[in-house]
């Protein structure tokens, strides 16, 4: 069954602006991961946050996790046209590394 649900479904911004995408999930998790997919390619892992962590940074990426609300957010700062892609959150529920994905957020960054 679907676990992560991303919001919004689509987001269009200008280069240089920040992009925020949200993810909600339903069951307890071990960790939550964000992935990026460029059109016609496979998903690429961006960042992993464990259930006992609240915030994590990687370059221009900032991820937060609120386990009480069962939600996470991905912030991309100073966006670039090359950030145009679909972004997915995935959750590992049972510690078996069984990852469940949502439908993704389609981000378009206009130059």
């Amino acid at each position: 069954s679907q676990q992560g649900e991303e919001d919004p479904q689509a987001l269009s911004i200008q280069e240089g602006e920040n992009a925020t995408m949200n993810c909600s999930y339903k069951t307890s998790i071990n960790n939550l991961q964000w992935y990026r997919q460029n059109s016609g390619r496979g998903l690429v892992h961006l960042i992993l946050i464990r259930s006992n962590e609240r915030e994590k940074h990687s370059g221009r990426l900032r991820v937060t996790l609120d386990t009480s609300k069962k939600s996470s957010s991905l912030l991309i700062t100073a966006s670039r046209a090359a950030d145009t892609a679909s972004y997915f959150c995935a959750t590992d529920r049972g510690g078996n590394n069984d990852m469940r994905f949502g439908a993704g957020t389609r981000l378009t960054v206009k130059p």
């Binding site: 071990n30 991961q33 016609g40 690429v44 992993l48 590394n97 069984d98 994905f101 439908a103 993704g104």
Partner: protein, 116 residues
């Protein structure tokens, strides 16, 4: 290291025919997963191998789908007979040894299956 490779990249078949998709994971990765995405919807989990054993196959839609991973290396996913609703992009992913939590998945570029 070589990434996850999938073959073919595209397949167009008629309803009722059989198709076999292949996935070669990253060498040494015990975990192998199959996912499917239909028309921009969620990436739906199909099944998870740990080495040659099926850890979880709860996402397999029906008995027309058969996944194998003989020897714990590459995997095949056979659809027989194919139906129109089987169309979509089938992704394979792998990750490090079984039981190692918090391990990122490495994805192949997918096989786009079109059933006409």
């Amino acid at each position: 290291e070589a990434g996850v490779t999938q073959f073919p990249s595209h397949s167009v078949i008629e309803k009722g025919q059989t198709v076999t998709l292949r996935c070669d994971p990253i060498s040494g990765h015990d975990n192998l997963y199959w996912y499917r995405r239909v028309m921009g919807k969620e990436i739906k989990f199909l099944l998870h191998f740990v080495k040659e054993s099926k850890q979880d196959e709860s996402g397999m839609p029906n008995n027309r789908f058969l996944a194998e991973r003989t020897g714990g290396t590459y995997s095949t996913l056979k659809v027989q007979p194919a139906e129109l609703e089987d169309s979509g992009v089938y992704f394979c992913a792998s990750s490090r040894r079984g039981g190692y939590t918090n391990s990122p998945l490495h994805f192949g570029n997918g096989t786009r299956l079109t059933v006409t």
